[in-house]
């Protein structure tokens, strides 16, 4: 009995965020020892053993001319900027004459003097632990070991090839900056710093992933962001125990509030101006090394109908576009369901002539409306997925296959009615207007379709009401998901349903606050 209950509890835990109870123990293979070997031969042997005789581990012995002391430079080929090491480290160490008042120095004084006077590199620290040294070595730093000394000098000279700053493909705009994040976290942080030149823009880094040691940075505006949310976010990030973090999506799935809900409660974006806009409203960004997608916490439902371009265009047009997006959201989820339920149950609601057109279109189709609709929805999803994975060279074939074979031929063979193809095409086009909710819209569409085929309009209403109840239930990091839309904000609907002119929007500073959901928010 107890076992059954525990199994059940195990299933139900996926419904809401829980701090994970099973924490991986630190892998002992990642501990190499605390002390750096004192003799150079020993150090060389140990490093070769740890890195399994890797060919890209380069060990360059040298003699420091100034102190007549043996040293060893260690780096990993490919991760370091060799030119800067040669010019700034090797040249002064090998060519500088000993100082005039040279007397026998202790090793510590040698290291101090090296750092202060000889090594001409900007980023230079001393490290005494072997673990930290290996970590820095794997990150791409150059290590200088002295004979007989158990501390190492670490010179950060990382350079590797990254993709340049280009326009992001998933978020194209007509008007607005075309910069997008890259995979290097330093570039991303720089892109953000260029937009806000104030020390209040705070960055706090941790490293997640026991093997990948990915650098994850939290970014927020001190004074505007809510401290409760920051604390909660840090707590959840600290509870992540995983061996690699490849993409920010890993982090997102670890910290989100309702893993099984179709609505995402953490947003992501590829553009710096979007991030800065949301930071100014009090949200918090999570940057992850190795991916251009930046997470934004918390996320409300209104954001799905807001696009950054809204704020760069004029108020009237932006408001119209917002209504259009809400309309598109409604169509893309409910149009197939409405069509099927009108065909099956509610013939009387359409005017007579339209009804004749509907029936004539369905003449001779062997399937019921539901099966037809489900079939066409599936075909469309297949087309979409195939178009994504297909190499560009054969991309032309998709359009031919999709348009002619699956569209025209299906209708002419009498398997689907032309009206159904129109309905599904409209649905598909509307779903592209809101790319953020892609997965959600798919589930909702199927659910409403099935509900509409069972009980007609009442089924669709029931399904919509259940979705609304679910949306009213969800909280994203303590803030209700539907915060800005319901309850209707007392300061006016300036930014949710419509988009009022900019000079009236920036009156309020904070818009996202967890202290009191009844407080009107301005986003």
């Amino acid at each position: 009995m107890d076992v059954i209950l525990r199994r059940l509890a195990g299933v139900l835990q996926y419904l809401k965020y829980n701090t994970p109870k099973h924490i991986h123990t630190e892998l002992s293979a990642l501990q190499y020892g605390d002390n750096i070997p004192v003799s150079l031969e020993e150090a060389e042997a140990k490093l070769r053993e740890i890195l399994h005789n890797d060919e890209s581990l380069i060990l360059r012995p040298l003699r420091i001319k100034a102190f007549n002391h043996r040293a060893l430079i260690i780096y990993i080929n490919g991760l370091t900027d060799k030119k800067s090491i040669e010019v700034n480290v090797l040249r002064p160490l090998m060519t500088e004459e000993p100082p005039e008042d040279f007397s026998y120095c202790t090793n510590k004084e040698i290291i101090n003097s090296l750092i202060n006077e000889y090594i001409q590199s900007l980023d230079c620290i001393v490290e005494a632990s072997l673990n930290a040294m290996i970590e820095k070595l794997m990150e791409g730093a150059t290590i200088i070991l002295l004979e007989g000394e158990a501390t190492a000098i670490i010179v950060n000279s990382i350079e590797w090839t990254t993709r340049g700053v280009t326009e992001p493909e998933t978020e194209a705009v007509i008007r607005g900056p075309r910069e997008g994040f890259t995979e290097d976290i330093l570039t991303n942080i720089t892109l953000l710093r260029r937009k806000i030149k104030s020390p209040k823009l705070t960055f706090e880094s941790t490293s997640l992933g026991t093997y990948s040691k990915t650098c994850v940075t939290i970014c927020y505006l001190d004074g505007i962001a809510d401290t409760e949310i920051i604390k909660e976010l840090k707590k959840r990030l600290a509870a992540i125990k995983i061996d690699t973090i490849l993409e920010s999506g890993y982090i997102e799935q670890f910290i989100e509030d309702y893993p099984l809900s179709p609505f995402p409660s953490i947003g992501n974006t590829e553009k710096p101006d979007v991030v800065i806009g949301k930071l100014m409203e009090g949200r918090i960004a999570v940057l992850c090394d190795g991916t251009p997608f930046v997470l934004l916490v918390p996320r409300l439902f209104v954001e799905n109908i807001q696009v950054s371009e809204d704020y760069y265009t004029r108020s009237l047009y932006a408001t119209t576009l917002r209504f259009l997006r809400v309309f598109a959201l409604f169509i893309s989820t409910t149009l197939p369901a409405l069509y099927v339920s009108i065909q099956t149950f509610h013939h009387e609601i359409v005017p007579f002539r339209l009804f004749i057109a509907l029936t004539a279109a369905r003449e001779g189709i062997p399937f019921t409306s539901v099966v037809e609709a489900l079939m066409m929805v599936c075909i469309f999803e297949l087309l979409k997925e195939a178009g994504l994975r297909m190499p560009k060279a054969v991309g032309q074939a998709i359009s031919i296959v999709g348009a002619i074979v699956l569209g025209q031929a299906t209708v002419e063979a009498g398997i689907a009615s032309p009206l159904m193809v129109i309905v599904i095409a409209l649905t598909a086009i509307s779903s592209f207007i809101i790319p953020a909710l892609d997965g959600t819209i798919f589930f909702l569409r199927i659910a409403y379709l099935i509900a509409g085929s069972i009980m007609g309009f009442y089924g669709i209403t029931l399904a919509i009401v259940v979705t609304l109840i679910h949306m009213c239930n969800i909280k994203s990091f303590g803030i209700h998901y539907l915060s800005a839309m319901i309850p209707i904000p007392q300061s006016g609907l300036k930014d949710s349903y419509i988009r009022a002119p900019l000079w009236s929007l920036f009156f309020d500073n904070t818009s996202v606050s967890s202290s009191g959901d009844e407080n009107p928010t301005n986003d």
């Binding site: 209950l5 059940l8 509890a9 139900l12």
Partner: protein, 70 residues
């Protein structure tokens, strides 16, 4: 049979609440829950098998008519 279907669905519904009841550690809550479930089960059985039990509305109607006509 339909009674088995009813029992099965009631057990499924019970499983949703089981964790909360287990943690509540209050006997009176569990007792009330069971009483209400049993009542519901009885009413469902009555309507599924069409047992000739008088429905409360008829009882109320009789009582009201009695009082009015007095």
């Amino acid at each position: 049979m339909i009674v088995i279907l009813i029992v099965f669905s009631l057990i499924l519904l019970f499983l949703i609440d089981v964790r909360q009841l287990y943690n509540s550690k209050s006997r009176i809550v569990i007792a009330t829950y069971s009483v209400l479930m049993l009542l519901g089960f009885m009413v469902l059985v009555i309507i599924s098998l069409d047992l000739p039990v008088v429905s409360p509305s008829i009882l109320i109607e009789k009582a009201v008519k009695f009082i009015i006509e007095r």
